[in-house]
Structures are given as C-alpha cells and as structure tokens.
Symmetry: none
Subunit: 376 residues, 2 copies
C-alpha cells in the first residue's frame, strides 16, 4: 500500500482545519500526492510549522480560497470538533466536511441538533496515531495501510461519502464504511477499553515491591506500551464514548470478578487443594483470551508486512553500532525496522534488525562472517 | 553480554531434570560453555531429542554420575517441581538443588514441610521464555541478558547460593537475589496480573461487533500479544501465586471501579455536561498509568533513565544507517536506545537516537555539521 497520487490529484481543493499530528500528516500526504491543500489553525505557531514542513499553504479567507474549497477536513481536538464542523459547513456552503475525531455518534448528534447540513457532513476516523503529537511528529505516510472509518449518516449525500472515501485512498488508507454507532462500539472494544486496561496495569507498578520492575520483561512492556498516552486527550475520548466503553468495561469487570473468585477459592485451600472448578475458571479466562486474540487480523491479512528479525549482540560502546550497520550495508541489506533491547545490569545490548524475509539468511551469514554474535 | 565459558567450566557437574524449553536451553548453554551436563526426563522422547540437540548426555543412575553431581537444576512443570526438588535432594546428598519455576514461596514451603534439606535448596527463576515450547525451541542463548532471580531461603548455605548465581552467570543471565516472598509479589505485578489483563481484553473481542477487529491497530496487538499463552500452564502459575496475584487484581479492580463510576457520571449527563470530577477521575487513571510506565527500567537496570532523543531523517537505502552511526561514533557519543520509524513506500525513515541528556546538543551539532537533517 502506498500514497495514491492519482486519487490525491482527483480530489477537490482541500482545507485542513487543525495542524496537529493528524492534520499536518494529512496535509503532507495530500501535498505529496499533488492535491491542493490549504491549512488553518488557531495557533499561528502550529500553522507556521505545518506550512514550513510542507503540509500546505495558509488558508486566506479573503482570497478565492474560500469559494474554492471542495473538501474540509476538521482535525481538531475531539471536544471542539462538532463546533468546528458546524463552522466549516457554514463557511463553505458547497464543500463536503469531514473530521478525524475518534468518537463519532456524539459529533453527528451535535451537528444535527445545531442544524448542520447533514447531506454534506460525513464523519471519518483514520485508525492511525503516534505516541508523540504535534506537527513535528507528522508524516505524510502516517495512514498507509491503516483502516479509515467513513461514517455515513443516513442523510449523507452518496457523492460526499465517496469524496471522503477517496481522501482515505489518496493517503494510502483502507476506507471502512460503517455507521457511527457500530464505529463507536467497535473502537470501545479494540481501542478504548484496551487503553484503560493498559493504564490500570501500568498504574499498579507504582505500588509494586521496589525491585519488581527489575524483573520486567517484554510482556509487560508490550501490555503497557500505550499506557504512555496523553491523559487529557484520553479523558476526552473516553468521556465522548462513555456508553460503549462502559459496556465493555462492565463485561471486563465481570470476567475479572470470575478470576478473583477462582483465585480466592484456591487461596483458601492453601494453594494445593484440588479446587478443580476454580482452576478451570482461571484457565478459561486465558483460553477465552486465546480465542479473542486469534480474531485479530494481521498474520495472514496481508496488510502489515511481516519482517524477519535478526538479533545481534552489540557491545555498548561508541562505534559499535556504526560497525554493525556498516557490515549490514556491505551485505547490501536494507533495514526495515530496528530496535535496541534493554539489558538490565549489562553494558551490552541486543539490536533487533528487521529485514524482508528473503534476505534474512544472507544477512545472518554475512554478520556471522564479520564476527558478530547473531542470536538465532 | 554473552555466555561465560569460564563460569560454566568452573561449575560442578550439572544434572538437568526436565528437558523442555528451559531445561534443554540450560543444557545447550552450559554444554557450549564447557560444563559437564547430564539430562533426565520422564519422557524418553524428549530426553532423546535433547541429547540429539547437544544439550548433554543421558544421566545414568547406576554409573558414577549419581555420586558426581554437584548441581541439580529441576526444570519441571510448576506443579511437580517441589516433588522433583525433594527427590533430587534425596538422590544427591552432596548436591545443590535449584529449580526454574515461576513461583517460589509455595515450592520452598513444600520442600520445608516435607523435610527437604533447606541448606542445599536454592530456588531460581530465569525471566526468559518463548512463545514456543519444548526442546525443539530450546536455545543455548535463551537467558543472555535476562534477569535470573536467585531465591535464597533463610537456611540456604551461602556457598550453595553462590553456585546458583554462577549458573546464571554462565548462561549470560543477570542474577538478582531476592527472597521468595518478594519474588512472588514482584512477578504478580510485572507478569501475572498483566497476563490476566491481556487475556481479559482479548476475551472481550469475542463479543465485539462483527467488523470491530478490522479496526484493530498496533495498540491492541501489543496489549493482547501475551494473551496467546498456554491456558493450562497459566492456570498452574496463577494458582501457585494466588495470594500475591489477588492483591494486585483486587487493587486493579478497585481502580477499574473508579473508571466505571466516572464514566457512569459522564454518561448520565449525556456526555456533554461538565462533570469535572468524573473527567478528572478518568484522566487520573491514564496519568497514573503514565507514571507506572515510566518506572519500567531502561538500559543498565535500576530506575528508568530519562534519555534525550535526537531524531534524524535517514534515506531508506542500504548504507545510510552505517553512515549515520559512523558519524555518531566519530562524535564520541554512545547510543543508549534507538528506534527506526519504518515508513513503507517512503524514501526516508526517521531514526530516533536516545542519548544521555548532557551530550544531546553536541550530537545534534555534529550530525548537522555532517549534513544530516535533525528533526527538532
């Protein structure tokens, strides 16, 4: 998957309102594809940064820009999105208006309640983001290969829905058309409840025995990675999707009660009684997790490329990585992803080099020949 | 960070009881280091496979082997470990006996209750594993750079504790000495409760709207990766550590109640009332997660070091990383962590280089002088 310049060039002139991570990334991707993009942001600093980065030119309300806009993308914080959508519908009476907020029913309801033109508003939600925010973190390829939910309300014009679909395609994303209610229930379970769970697990570390975190492994790092997210943004998102998130969290609480009850039965028996039912209840939660985990697409979905990982032991000293990457370059191999694994208490690191699967063996042989210790 | 052949060669003759993933990996690593290793397993097939792989030779009870063993490593399933430890203490009256089970207090208590020699038993827990199991998945380098908890009971002989420490060092692991209670409380919070949380989140996907999983992103994949774990093994582990796991899960439940109450207040007001206290409660959980997440150690163990991150734009071509790290090395700067933002279909990547804060400016200047584009 990649940016689609043909789709970008076929878009009407686009106004992006809000030049944070998502808005600036949309501007960068569309501009790269040849679309005409103008930018607006209440912060002059953010706006100047986004134009400097090449995300588009500054929107000039007095110029022909105002009449010329065919598509407005509102990329504002969730709690001001509906107001911005209404303002843009009014400012550009011929334009299709979409947004990128991560909860959709409330915005649609507010736009409807305040008399917005529902034939021209088509909500959107690109399933992409980064831990970092702001235009500096923006990338034109942020949406490549990601789902982009297009929420067509019942009154939305078919052609307007199609423009938003083509916006997603221009940015290399995969449009997924669903209604706002289905979207909100879906993100509650695949995004919002997992965020709460990750935060709850990470928060427990604050009361852990002092040296517990020395034993942290990759499992804990994975479970808690998204716990680094922005609290204020997430309070907005969770509040905006309170109903669907509650449905998931209450069910999760009920499952958690089952685990706790099972473990209480086991603990009462001193840990070595039979308690077959209690043990089965505990095993069932893990088994149910297996089944749920298997539903996640990806391994055979073809959307995400699977790389082969070559792990190399590297002395923790200036110049080591230079030598390693010189040897990788000499082998003519391109690095797709890389990471340096923490080595608690050791002045050495494990570098994980992700490469396309066909070149894995060649790289391993080349590195071994060059004297590197490759962990099989 | 590597296997330590000197430490391996200095070990007494080692008997490994149980030739699954951990036992066979221990045998492979010690044999590679020059230690004398004999293997035992109730399954003749597993035993033959482990010896074929080079993990050691078959233990012969009738031969001189029996008198000659200085260290026994019990690598059996958790629920039969205590029994195996007792049997080995009896069978080898001069040997130190250790194990690799992931819960320690219960085993120590059972060995004590059944009259085992506590001066010679020193529990252990290497914090390593793979998603795959069995001797076929075994690797002599499985433990390199990982913590290896050494649980010295109050009655354990100092020299016996040292032998188990040297076992860990021989395999390239980092020994962490703590008592069984601290160990069990620690793994409850860094491993067992996160496993339950990951399973609970993944299990919710089974009741999700049909197309919800189409929207799954990397966050969900990360949170639920360990939800693919073996239910029977985990039922054993959680049951064996029921008390400490309950402490964590009850606290987590209490935090979850807080989120649910907050969202209920918000939902009752239709999502757009002020509810400042409720929103603050929701934000606080995410903020507490931020703080907990920051406790997870970075390199060199101990508390997480805050590194300064220098982000560099790098052409996506063989040799680019080599040039970059050569320039970093020329600047005399050591890289603490690094990451590559991979951008499919894009001509450049972003390399994030983490360095100690005092050298950040110098590195940025050196890279800019060398012609690199450093992202502010």
């Amino acid at each position: 998957m990649s940016l689609d310049p043909a789709a970008a060039a076929a878009l009407p002139r686009v106004k992006v309102v809000g030049t944070g991570l998502l808005g600036a990334s949309i501007g960068l991707g569309l501009t790269a594809g040849g679309a005409g993009v103008v930018l607006a942001d209440p912060s002059p600093t953010a706006l100047a940064l986004a134009t400097d980065l090449g995300a588009g030119s500054v929107f000039a309300p007095a110029a022909r820009d105002a009449d010329d806009i065919g598509l407005v993308v509102v990329a504002a914080p969730p709690d001001v999105t509906a107001g911005a959508v209404l303002a843009e519908l009014a400012a550009h009476p011929g334009a299709t208006v979409t947004d990128v907020a991560s909860v959709k029913s409330g915005i649609l309801a507010e736009v409807a309640a305040r008399g917005g033109d529902l034939s021209r508003y088509v909500g959107g939600h690109p399933m992409a983001g980064r831990e970092r925010s702001g235009p500096v973190a923006a990338r034109g390829d942020l949406f490549i290969g990601r789902p982009w939910v297009v929420c067509a309300g019942a009154k939305a014009d078919g052609e307007r829905v199609d423009v938003v679909r083509r916006l997603a395609l221009a940015l290399g994303a995969t449009p997924v058309v669903m209604d706002a209610r289905e979207h909100d229930a879906s993100v509650a379970v695949v995004s919002h409840a997992p965020q709460v769970a990750a935060s709850l697990v990470a928060a427990r570390l604050r009361q852990a025995p002092k040296r517990a975190v020395e034993l942290a492994g990759q499992g804990l790092r994975d479970v808690t990675r998204i716990a680094s997210s922005d609290p204020l943004l997430w309070a907005q998102i969770l509040a905006a999707n309170a109903g669907p998130v509650l449905d998931v969290l209450r069910a999760l609480r009920s499952d958690l009660e089952g685990v706790i009850s099972g473990l209480e039965s086991i603990a009462e028996e001193g840990g070595d009684g039979p308690a077959p039912g209690a043990r089965a209840a505990v095993a069932r939660v893990v088994a149910d997790g297996n089944l749920g985990r298997e539903l996640i697409p990806g391994k055979h979905g073809g959307q995400a490329t699977r790389y082969a990982v070559v792990t190399v032991v590297v002395p923790d000293a200036p110049g080591s990585l230079a030598r390693l990457f010189a040897d990788i370059g000499d082998a003519g191999v391109n690095v797709e992803e890389l990471g340096l694994e923490h080595a608690p208490g050791r002045a050495v690191g494990l570098v994980e080099v992700s490469v396309l699967p066909p070149v894995r063996e060649r790289l391993e042989a080349a590195l071994a020949a060059a004297g590197w210790r490759v962990v099989a």
